[in-house]
């Protein structure tokens, strides 16, 4: 295929956008440029086929090959079935019913913070993670479920209290079955046994006992676990000269330091988003990523669910230096460089009456400050200002003071003692450890989890120091799930148990404790950090004994067994949240700190952020997360440097107009002597003169999936400036690099696909919120479908969708959807049944953003059905557009005829796990598809069938809420509603009766069952002109 591309002409795009009349939604720069290549992508369902036959194959040869493959195809089907076995247990546990899943409560941690989960287990094999609605960080449809209510469990075994999750939690189960996990202890690149390690450990500890632990250093990630902390404290009592350090790259140093400045002690701020009428976020991506974001997204959505009787909504202002999920759903968004975000905060402080000297701001930014300040002041005690980790501690402190000045403390924000056991500056800790390693005082270094050789600040040269320490003969140990960059530099590498294999405990963002309960015996001889510390204390207890005896010791009462069982069952230790502290910020120290903020050097500014999917690099080998299109850029398998269109133009940087893979310019980022080569991504909404780089890529020893992808942004990260820096220079290298972004895939040619309006318009005339084409029902040639049973349908509320992608991964996990790799994504062959389309509206520099999840529409008059020559896609009576894999011969006519482009074709044998361990992951209730077969969203028909069968056994209809699709369960904002639309009381029928309800491409009259609620924004009239 000829690939002739020209570079995007940003001026032309700008002109076109400016010249557009009326509402104008666009998906990508390429679409606006309307290049020939883009049209080609648009018009062909599968634009990049394998090379045409003529190129290398003669007609006769082709016929011969076809004949042979046909004959072989016939033969393979004649093979007798192998004799298969039934292996019953010897003693059947009481609660196990073969063929029915069980759900166990546990917790997933990221950055130390626990999120409650329920894990689906099929005969002892965990396959799917759901949220636990009893846990404060993973609320369900009705919010956080109270503990004193008995758990209602559907007869088919599904707990009713399914909660929401994020993409990380969903994907964490893939890591359990990752064939690249390390499977044995390794001593200096030689496979060793645990026995060997225990002997070596005993010798090292004996040596340290003699010097009271003077040479012993322990490095962990953030610890919130009470029982692990107790072990570490015991160890430090036994070895008083030893030190325990914590470090992870995405830490909360700035937040903690901010509270230290403002209140004189480290505190944890807990936001009550649901109580806030007006929210201002300064570089805080609170809806995505951290330990509370699922809860915050849920709370945020409770005030944005627009129905006919809605009278008010909350309002969200976001000032940010990188387009994020939170910014994408803001009513007003202002892109500013990081230093200007700080200046904005100071100006705001002044505007709400704090005695600060505000730096001068450009006029339009100052107007923003004034308008926002007025809005906040009009909602005293019912508003909230949040600040992101990337802002300096002084600004954090200032925001606490602003919230105090606005009367929000105790209302929309409360403070508790820190959740971390040891709330320290982790950057300070790793620096101290590096100094000690440099001075040669470290004789035994035990690194429990984490990957400091890869992700410690560049100026510390941690990898070199670690290597030298090991070479000097020190006892260095690294416990981790993969033999990674740090393991390679230690004397010992120990395989770590996955959290679904081991006991533990963790605190949530509000300090609620969950017991981490294993679902399966360790797949390999691995240990948890609890067990290693216990071994350092000279004991050999199991994780279960460690955690249980800790809690038994604390409770000390005779009914412990009963409460322990209840904690495990509920997934939450009742009453373990920390009490709210009454605090008041000390203005003088806040102002003092603000004055000390040093000015940012001239030149480009740079923000360093964790990757939205790969985080700090720990998920690098997780194919689900690698292939998940990143929010907003929709990039897969790579990180790029975000750069604004204007800055790109100024620096002469460009991207190609077409093809499914984007050829982009490479740049060299230079900062303080560090040089990193990286591909650019022209990002609408990125502030000018400010680039954003993402951590987590450029791994050297991540595993087969994650090694050597992207560039390593840690090389640009210094211990005195973790998140934002100035004085960066960019140089065009002249090279080009292919990036696989899905933003142009499955494009529906920009018809009336999304509808957006303001709350005022909705209140004024809800019935004309959406311009309707024609009146009433359109006529159809096909007969009307008559059925008095269930009519399954879905409504997606686009006001609530934040584009976090949790649904996409949940769908992937539930439905055995394979990953295809970067090269195949670049050909438009990604297999996700559910995609989240992102639309822009307005100019190039700060467009509004809308998200629209698109699963199969299950059209009542589905265009895919009549074109299938073999009847492989047909309708069910309940309204499902069924896909029959065994009938499919792969003509792809259905897909060509699908107006919504929701069908996915197995071009290759994607679902061919050469590693048997990956087969354990598959959901046994869903067929694993082979090559040459079409597939698509089934509305989770396996869940529908399970519910229907149970209801039929009881002689009743399926009740509303009994069928919860995987995407629906995962959604933090509950934007996805599924149910029986023939039942008038069902949530889905109610949603369909809303005035702002619409279907995609309604004019085609295919009667989609999946429909949408239009996006309702709540802009401030004073800023609306912007």
């Amino acid at each position: 295929m000829k690939r002739k591309h020209r570079s995007l002409n940003l001026d032309e795009i700008r002109e076109r956008l400016a010249g557009a009349r009326g509402r104008n939604y666009w998906r990508s720069l390429e679409e606006v440029a309307d290049s020939e290549e883009f049209r080609q992508i648009l018009e062909k369902e599968f634009p990049l086929q394998s090379s045409p036959l003529g190129a290398f194959l003669h007609r006769r040869q082709f016929l011969k090959l076809m004949g042979a493959s046909l004959a072989l195809a016939g033969l393979t089907s004649c093979r007798p079935l192998p004799q298969r076995k039934i292996v019953p247990q010897v003693q059947q546990p009481e609660e196990v019913i073969p063929g029915k899943p069980l759900y166990y409560a546990s917790a997933f941690t990221l950055g130390g913070f626990g999120r409650g989960i329920l894990v689906e287990s099929h005969e002892g094999r965990p396959t799917k993670i759901e949220g636990n609605a009893r846990h404060p960080a993973s609320p369900g449809r009705q919010g956080v479920q109270p503990l004193n209510q008995p758990a209602r469990i559907h007869p088919d075994g599904t707990p009713e209290h399914l909660g929401a999750t994020d993409a990380f939690t969903q994907a964490s189960i893939l890591t359990l079955y990752d064939p690249d996990r390390s499977q044995s202890p390794v001593q200096q690149n030689r496979v060793a046994s645990w026995q060997d390690f225990n002997t070596a450990l005993a010798a090292a500890m004996a040596k340290q006992a003699a010097v009271r632990g003077a040479g012993l250093r322990i490095l962990t990630e953030t610890v919130t676990s009470p029982s692990l902390a107790a072990l570490l404290e015991e160890l430090l009592r036994k070895y008083p000269q030893a030190r325990w350090y914590q470090y992870e790259p995405v830490n909360r140093d700035h937040s903690l330091e901010g509270t230290r400045i403002a209140f004189g002690e480290p505190l944890q701020a807990i936001y009550r988003i649901d109580r806030a009428d007006v929210i201002l976020s300064l570089d805080a991506n609170f809806l995505h990523g951290d330990g509370a974001s699922v809860r915050y997204a849920h709370d945020y959505s409770t005030r944005r669910r627009v129905r006919r009787d809605t009278r008010s909504m909350n309002r969200l202002y976001v000032v940010e230096s990188t387009p994020t999920v939170t910014g994408s759903v803001a009513d007003h968004r202002l892109p500013l460089r990081p230093s200007q975000v700080s200046a904005f905060a100071q100006a705001l402080a002044k505007a709400v009456g704090l005695p600060v000297s505000a730096p001068s701001l450009p006029a339009e930014v100052q107007r923003w400050v004034d308008v926002v300040a007025r809005d906040l002041q009009a909602h005293r005690g019912r508003c909230l200002v949040l600040v992101g980790e990337s802002q300096p501690p002084a600004i954090h402190a200032l925001i606490h003071a602003i919230n105090d000045a606005l009367g929000n403390i105790g209302q929309t924000v409360v403070y508790t003692a820190p959740v971390e056991v040891k709330p320290v500056s982790q950057t300070e800790e790793i620096r101290r450890l590096a100094q000690e390693m440099a001075s040669g005082t470290v004789e035994a270094l035990v690194i429990l989890g984490g990957n400091p050789a890869y992700n410690a600040p560049a100026d510390l040269e941690f990898a070199r120091l670690l290597k030298e320490t090991t070479q000097r003969g020190a006892f260095t140990v690294h416990l981790s799930m993969y033999e990674d960059e740090t393991s390679a530099l230690c004397e010992w590498h120990l395989p770590e148990s996955h959290y679904l294999e081991t006991w533990g405990d963790a605190r949530a963002y509000d300090a609620t404790v969950s017991i981490i309960q294993p679902l399966i015996e360790p797949l390999y001889p691995s240990r948890s950090s609890y067990e290693i510390v216990d071994a350092m204390l000279g004991r050999q207890r199991s994780g279960y004994d460690i955690v249980r005896s800790y809690w038994q010791g604390r409770s000390g009462n005779t009914t412990f067994d009963k409460s322990w069982r209840k904690w495990l069952h509920d997934g939450v230790v009742a009453g373990s949240a920390l009490p709210v502290k009454m605090v008041k910020p000390r203005l003088t120290s806040v102002l003092e700190a603000v004055q000390k903020i040093s000015p940012v050097p001239e030149g480009l500014e740079m923000t360093i952020l964790p990757d939205p999917n790969i985080w700090d690099g720990r998920f690098a080998n997780n194919g689900w997360l690698q292939e998940l299109p990143k929010p907003l850029s929709l990039l897969t398998w790579d990180n790029a440097v975000y750069i604004s269109p204007a800055t790109a133009q100024r620096l002469g940087l460009s991207m190609d107009t077409g093809g499914l893979a984007n050829m982009v310019d490479m740049v060299e980022i230079r900062y303080r002597g560090a040089k990193v080569r990286a591909p650019i991504w022209i990002m609408p909404g990125q502030p000018d003169d400010c680039i954003t780089v993402f951590l987590g890529y450029g791994r050297q020893r991540a595993g087969k999936v994650g090694t050597d992808l992207g560039y390593n942004a840690y090389a640009l990260r210094y211990s005195d400036s973790l998140w934002t820096v100035g004085g960066v220079t960019l140089a065009k290298t002249g090279e080009r690099y292919p990036l696989a972004s899905t933003q142009q895939h499955h494009s529906m040619e920009g018809r009336d696909l999304i509808h957006v309006g303001t709350l005022q318009q909705f209140l004024r005339d809800p019935d004309h919120f959406i311009p309707r084409h024609g009146a009433g029902e359109l006529p159809s040639l096909y007969p009307e479908h008559q059925w008095d049973g269930h009519k399954w349908a879905m409504v997606i509320d686009t006001s609530l969708c934040i584009g976090c992608n949790a649904c996409v991964v949940a769908c992937q996990a539930e439905n055995n959807i394979p990953i295809v790799g970067k090269e195949q994504v670049a050909r438009g062959r990604e297999m996700h049944w559910l995609r989240v389309d992102r639309y822009y509206e307005g100019g190039l520099d700060n467009p509004r953003t809308y998200h629209q999840p698109v699963p199969c529409m299950h059209c009542e008059k589905a265009p895919c059905e009549p074109v299938c020559p073999v009847g492989a896609t047909v309708h069910s009576h309940e309204g499902l557009n069924q896909m029959v894999y065994n009938r499919c011969v792969g003509t792809r006519y259905c897909s060509n005829n699908c107006p919504y482009k929701v069908r996915r074709f197995n071009f290759l044998k994607y679902n061919d796990p050469k590693e048997p361990v990956l087969q354990l992951l598959n959901n046994p209730d869903v067929t694993v598809r082979g090559r040459g077969v079409m597939e698509k969203c089934t509305y989770c028909v396996q869940r529908i069938n399970a519910a229907r069968i149970e209801a039929k056994k009881l002689g009743r209809r399926v009740q509303d809420g009994e069928v919860v699709t995987a995407c629906q369960a995962a959604c933090p904002t509950h934007a996805i509603i599924f149910g029986d639309m023939s039942d008038e009381r069902s949530l889905v029928a109610q949603a369909k009766a809303q005035p702002h309800h619409y279907g995609l491409l309604e004019e085609l009259n295919v009667r989609p069952r999946t429909t949408y609620l239009a996006t309702v924004r709540n802009p401030n009239p004073e800023l609306e002109g912007d």
Partner: protein, 218 residues
């Protein structure tokens, strides 16, 4: 110019057309019949098991109910083969020294499961659910045949899709009162179709829906 072909060539030519056609037809017939024959479907072929378990002895002669061993048939998709413990609930008392039962005793002592050979094996893309069938009046022997007469268990039905659809299209041909589901001596009454229609209605079976693809395939 002499004739190239002998006169008999005409006959040969005609013959080859006829035999060619006959071969084609017969190969199709043979193929389609063979694939449906017990040679391929294994209907009626006893399957060797680690322990020669006799359903005839346990069911007919001793009168043990199906559900004593296949305990999840009413609750789950699978009827389940009993754990070793179930065998030992009797065989710790009776036939304690029988050499035939050695694998069972070993399993119980060592905690290693017995690996039974599957007799009824559906392809992985078919999702059959026992519990709904027994709830809606499909007797065990409708699919499993005269199990109470089997010394070594064999497959009684071909398990082809056509066979499934025979009942899914016309359940009234096979349905029986719920309370007769486990009665292996149940005989269909003369007015089966009449009774069947009544039961189908009574049990709330939506016949149209039974042939939806996603009922069995997902």
């Amino acid at each position: 110019m002499p004739q190239v072909f002998h006169r008999s060539s005409n006959t040969l030519a005609r013959l080859s057309i006829v035999t060619g056609a006959a071969l084609l037809v017969s190969s199709v017939l043979i193929g389609s019949n063979l694939s449906r024959s017990p040679y391929v479907t294994k209907v009626g072929a006893p399957v060797d098991q680690p322990v020669p378990f006799s359903h005839k002895h346990h069911v007919k002669e001793l009168g043990i109910d199906c559900r004593y061993c296949h305990s999840t048939v009413e609750t789950s998709a699978v009827a389940s083969v009993p754990p070793t413990h179930t065998c030992m609930s009797c065989h710790s008392q009776v036939w304690t020294n029988s050499p035939l039962l050695e694998p069972i005793r070993q399993s119980y002592l060592n905690g290693t499961p017995v690996k039974w050979n599957k007799v009824y094996d559906l392809p992985d893309f078919v999702y059959f659910n026992h519990s709904i069938h027994v709830q809606k009046g499909i007797g065990c022997d409708t699919c499993h045949g005269p199990v109470h007469e089997m010394n070594i268990t064999y497959k009684a039905q071909p398990l082809s899709m056509a066979w499934c659809l025979d009942c899914h299209r016309q359940p009234e041909k096979y349905i029986r009162p719920k309370e007769e589901v486990y009665n292996y001596e149940y005989k269909q009454p003369k007015n089966q179709l009449e009774l069947g229609e009544k039961l189908v209605k009574e049990y709330g079976i939506r016949k149209e829906q039974l042939t939806d693809c996603a009922i069995c395939h997902r």
